[in-house]
Amino acid sequence: MSQTPLFALLVSAFGCGAFAQNAPADGVLVPPPPPDVSAAGQSDEPKSVGDFVSRIMREDDPETAALLLGSTQLQDALRAADPVDFPKLFEHAAELRDMEQMLMAPANLSTLRLNILSRAGCRFCQNPERMEAWAARDRFVIDAVKKELPEVFWDWRALADSQRAWVVAHGDDAKSWERLTMLERRGKLDGWAQQELDALSKLNPSTPAEVRAMGERIYVVFGIVGAEKTQPVLERLNQASVAVAKLAQARMTALPKDRALRQALADAQNAADPAARLAALNRLFDGLGRPDAAVRAAAPAAPGQIFDDRSRKLTADLLRGGLMREISGTWAGDDLAAFFKDHPLNIAVGPTQMAAIAWYQNDVLSFNEKFIQEYVKARGKNIDDLARDPVLLGGLIHEVAPTFVHEATHQEQDAWAKKLGIPFYGGEGPEKEAMTVQSLYVLQKEKLDASYRRYAEANVGTSTFVREDLALAQDLRQSGANWFGELVWASHYAGFPSIASNAWTNIALRARVAGDANAELARRAKRPAAEQQRLAAQADFAKSYPSVDALVADFPKVGGDALRDLLGKLAKADAGEAGVYDAYQQRLNSVDATTDERLKTLNDGAAPRDAVPLPATVNH
């Protein structure tokens, strides 16, 4: 992973003076009153600095926090009253808002857990006892999430027997466990997870029930170590799942009196691992003259089906030219062609532990080589055949073009954010937009291009990706852009950061950094004059830091001016955060409006033409 310019992220400000931080009418930045709040409650509002500090810092009261976050006048008054401790107060208010945003929407257990773990600097979030007590009191946190929290935080009573046994064997008990933070609990359970991963990597399930049981065990491990480390066992599970289903199918098939075929079936039944079972099934189905695409895709790769640097570059070059030709003539294609006139179009093919078939990062659009490998394997071809077989390449390009449009939209968003001088956030706005642009592309493409439509019709029954693209496009056509985005977000991205929660997370993070910088300056002020002079003359910050913790760890080593400069930039960034929120929201609104206009002009029922030629091969 590359070094993240976190310093830039922390201090990038957006110069939109017209946006009032406490003003949004629909109560996104300032939470709306809960349904059963009555006017009588208002007499209980905090009245003094002490009230605010007590309610936010000691009682974790989200309503007082919302009051503070929603009023710049209040912030100014409290900052003036206690300039040193104000950042801590503000930080915790933002943490409360951030956590409330996260826990008021449904999300699965693992997503919740990973989201909380990712906030390593939030001492409140990492304290299971305090978080659970707070969530129980908070009226916005939904019941389903409250019930999940003991498991999310690995409370003693929620641990699996094997986890508890591991923890006891390594010196802890219920009492000592209670005192641990969430991160410390994960650290302890990591050993158990590694042991479990070892066991899972040797499993060879042979019935659907055993496949399900393996999946459940992987899910538990996933919640501790995350996606990257579980990917190898997930692949084994996928192989096992296909192998078990296809073995059942093979057993039902009447085999001719052919010794090789009967041996293949016997080998599949007695295989020592899922890969061997798939290889035997592949021999069987090929021998029957009924090659099975799912078995071929999951089976071990032949030498010509394994990527190396040369074939990665070859495939990336083929995709670069083919994809831009494929999308030309569509709205998305025209928009992206204009964008790529003055932005780099870097396509890469590479390995990843992620399950995503493509991703965008730092001006590079990358495709997961495993997806392409499975595509050629399912057709009994080699990677180099992509350069020789226009139909094979054309099919791949039809399959990945919608995803290319999605990821290229993220590159456009990144360039837009850079141009405005604001951070490029993932989450709600960018994902809704990318899904919308991608789905409109499919909807238009199936109307314009007969070759795409034929491909879609021929493969909709067998390709999950084609089916998914067509389904999303139809959802967009039915709902219109705004509600398509809402439904995609509610159905698929539960637990991902919303535009508002990105704002709160950053405000909380900056408040924490400002608190530490103030504390360092206060510490220096108490030192003898000679030492103060020496500290003031220390170096400036480095250009980038791998983490916020690394940035904060440098505070004692940098000069006083550098710290004060940082504080000024943090304050400016906080003042601009509402503008960042506004910019993301306006961009999404604009995309929705354009999409609805375009949807309206799509001529339902028009016959598609062969206007876009099949991608040609690329010469090297």
Binding site: A358, M435, A473, Q474, E486, H492
Partner: protein
């Protein structure tokens, strides 16, 4: 069960009001419509307010697809479907390429909030996680109920994994029964 009352929100009909405004007026007059509504909030579901409605979501379906109920107002200036009939026509339009497992239901009549509404149930599918090697298809059932208003209309939609639909349908029935539109 608690009752959720959405804050009144204004729908600005600039074009229509402008046409009716006196010609001498430099700025078009703005007419504000209160299209708010009240409905039961499903216990234990999250409620996310939107400018034109609310999204209730339930957590924890093993399929990975959250059951969702949406209630929203659609103004007469909507670009894609300005009337109940236009909405039903769009929601029952068949895909250009037939998708296995997808079925468009027949539009039927219903009574909601004492008004003659239209209802349709479609069979669809969701894909989780999106665009991944491990993507799984989840059959989904989607019920749309469009309720006319004095201007525009309201839409109540229940979307759930097919396996969970029957068990959760009574929750949607309670939302429908409690629905009180203002317009």
């Amino acid at each position: 069960m608690t009752t959720l009352r959405l804050a009144a929100f204004a729908v600005l009909l600039c074009a229509a009001a402008g046409a009716a405004a006196p010609a001498a007026s430099a700025a078009p007059a703005r007419e504000e419509l209160d299209a708010s509504f009240a409905c039961a909030s499903p216990a234990g579901w999250s409620a996310a307010r939107r400018p034109d409605g609310v999204i209730f979501s339930a957590a924890g379906d093993p399929s990975g697809v959250n059951p969702v109920i949406t209630v929203r107002y659609v103004g007469p200036d909507n670009k894609l479907y300005a009337t109940v009939d236009a909405y039903m026509s769009r929601i029952t339009a068949k895909p250009d390429v037939a998708i296995p497992g997808w079925k468009t239901g027949a539009v039927s009549s219903a009574k909601v909030a004492g008004r003659a509404a239209k209802r349709v149930v479609n069979e669809e599918s969701d894909f989780v996680p999106p665009h991944a090697l491990t993507t799984q298809e989840v059959p989904v059932r989607e019920e749309h109920v469009a309720v006319p208003a004095s201007r525009g209309f309201y839409v109540l939609v229940f979307r759930a994994p097919r396996a969970a639909y029957a068990a959760q349908r009574p929750i949607f029935a309670r939302v429908l029964a409690s629905f009180k539109p203002k317009l």
